[in-house]
C-alpha cells in the first residue's frame, strides 16, 4: 500500500467510518478498480486513470446488504449518485463521498464546466471550461452538414453497448435498445434510432462524465451530443441533472407536480 492509499484508507475507514472503499489502483502493470474492506491492502492507489466508479459500484451494491461504502468521487460521480439516490437505487445513508478534484488536463479532455466536488479531499479545485469546441462547430453548421457529420460518426457504431454499460445513470436491466421494436436493424451499424433514443433517455439524467465517449471503439463524440441536449433541456425546462432534489421535468405535470398515477420518481 502506498502513501496515497494509506491517506485514503485513513479518511475512508477512520474519519468517515466506512466499511468498504471503492477506488483505483495499479496492479499487474495496469490500473483498475479496487473494492476493499477496512483490513484489506489497497495496493498502489492512483487517481491517474479515470474509471466510472459509480457504475462499477452499481453492479456490486445489490449484493452487499449492509455496510457503509466510501467511494472516491469526482464532481460528475457526485451528480450521478444524486440522480441514482433520487431514484431509490442507492441508499444515501450508506454512501459516503471522498471528493476528488480533477486537474486541468482532465477538465480539458471532458470539456467540463462543473469540475469541483462539494467537498474536496484530494486534488485542487480548478475552473471549468466554457465551451465544447465541436458543439460550437456543429451549432454553426446547416442541418444538412450536421446530419452528414453525425451519420458519418454513427456508421462506426458496432453496438458494443459500451455507452450504456459504462454510463452511471443508465440503470435499466433490460435496455430498450436491445429490442427490435425500437432498433430495427439486424446487424451493424444500428440505425440512427439507437442514438436518438439514447440521447432522449439521457436528457434528464446525464452528468457529463464522458464515459460513453471514452468507451466508444468508434471514437464517436458522444459527450458533445450529450452536452448539446443538456443545453436544450436547460433552455426548455430550466433543468440540469445532478442535484439531490429537483425532479426531472419529464416526470412532472406542466405545473411541476407529480404525474397522476406516479407513486415514485421513476
Amino acid at each position: 500500500m502506498n502513501e496515497l492509499g494509506r491517506r485514503l484508507a485513513e479518511i475512508a475507514f477512520t474519519e468517515l467510518k466506512a466499511d468498504y472503499l471503492l477506488t483505483t489502483s495499479r496492479e499487474h502493470g495496469n490500473v483498475g478498480p479496487v473494492f476493499a474492506s477496512r483490513d484489506e491492502d489497497l495496493g498502489e492507489v492512483t487517481f491517474d486513470v479515470p474509471y466510472q466508479l459509480v457504475k462499477i459500484l452499481s453492479r456490486i451494491y445489490p449484493w452487499i446488504p449492509q455496510g457503509k461504502i466510501a467511494i472516491v468521487a469526482r464532481r460528475c460521480d457526485e451528480k450521478a449518485l444524486n440522480e441514482l439516490i433520487k431514484r431509490g437505487l442507492f441508499d444515501a445513508a450508506r454512501i459516503v463521498l471522498i471528493g476528488l478534484a480533477c486537474d486541468a488536463e482532465q477538465i480539458a479532455k471532458c470539456r467540463c464546466s462543473d469540475p469541483a466536488p462539494s467537498r474536496v479531499h484530494f486534488g485542487t479545485p480548478n475552473k471549468g471550461v466554457e465551451f465544447d469546441e465541436l458543439a460550437v462547430r456543429l451549432q454553426s453548421m446547416s442541418h444538412e452538414e450536421r446530419l452528414n457529420y453525425w451519420i458519418g460518426q454513427f456508421r462506426k457504431c458496432n453496438k458494443c453497448f459500451g455507452c450504456t454499460t459504462n454510463c452511471p445513470v443508465c440503470f435499466c436491466d433490460d435496455c430498450v435498445l436491445e429490442e427490435r421494436t425500437y432498433v430495427a436493424e439486424k446487424g451493424i451499424p444500428p440505425g440512427l434510432a439507437f442514438h436518438l433514443v439514447r440521447a432522449f433517455h439521457m436528457a434528464d439524467k446525464c452528468v457529463e462524465c464522458g464515459e460513453c465517449e471514452r468507451s466508444c471503439p468508434g471514437d464517436i463524440p458522444l459527450l458533445t451530443l450529450r452536452k448539446t441536449v443538456l443545453k436544450d433541456m436547460k433552455e426548455l425546462f430550466g433543468f440540469s441533472p445532478g442535484d439531490q432534489n429537483s425532479v426531472s421535468p419529464l416526470l412532472t405535470t406542466l405545473e411541476g407536480e407529480p404525474l397522476e398515477g406516479d407513486d415514485d420518481v421513476c
Binding site: R146, F154, A184, F200, L236, L250, E260
Partner: protein, 139 residues
C-alpha cells in the same frame, strides 16, 4: 419537389384526436392521402422511441395529436406528452434532422375541421422540406 409524395404517420389518441379524425372523415372533409393514422389510447403512450424509429427508417413526418390540456381522459397524460415532444424535436435538430418533421398538436373529438387543417398544413410543410434525407442514406 413536385412529385414528392411524403409518407406521414399520425399518432392519434382514442378519446380526442382519433375521434376528431373520424369526424373529419365522416364529414367528408378533403384531406391529402399521405397520412397513416395510428390509434393509441393516450398521446402519452406514444414513446419517443417509436417516433425516432420511424424517422430513422425514412418516414418523412410524424404527427402526434392528443387532447387539449385539461381534457386528457387520463387527466395528466398529455402533460407528459407536452414535455417530451419539444425535447424530441430539439434532439432531432441536434442530429441535423429538421425539427419540423415532428409536430405535436391538440385536437378534440369535436374538431373535425381542425384535424383537416392540421393534416393539410403538415403535409404541405413536409412537401416543402422534401424527403427525409435518411431515406437515401445507408448507414
Amino acid at each position: 419537389m413536385s412529385d414528392f409524395n411524403p409518407t406521414i404517420l399520425a399518432f392519434c389518441c382514442n378519446w380526442c384526436s382519433y375521434a376528431g379524425a373520424d369526424l373529419a372523415g365522416v364529414s367528408r372533409l378533403q384531406m391529402p392521402p399521405n397520412v397513416h393514422v395510428i390509434r393509441v389510447m393516450c398521446s402519452a403512450s406514444v414513446k419517443p422511441e417509436y417516433v425516432f424509429k420511424a424517422l430513422s427508417q425514412g418516414i418523412d413526418g410524424v404527427l402526434v395529436l392528443g387532447c387539449h390540456i385539461g381534457d386528457c381522459h387520463y387527466l395528466t397524460g398529455n402533460h407528459r406528452t407536452a414535455k417530451r415532444f419539444p425535447l424530441a424535436q430539439k434532439i432531432l435538430g441536434e442530429i441535423g434532422l429538421d425539427e419540423r418533421r415532428l409536430r405535436l398538436d391538440w385536437v378534440s373529438a369535436a374538431e373535425g375541421e381542425k384535424f383537416q387543417q392540421v393534416i393539410t398544413e403538415f403535409v404541405a410543410e413536409i412537401k416543402k422540406l422534401g424527403p427525409n434525407p435518411l431515406r437515401e442514406v445507408r448507414p
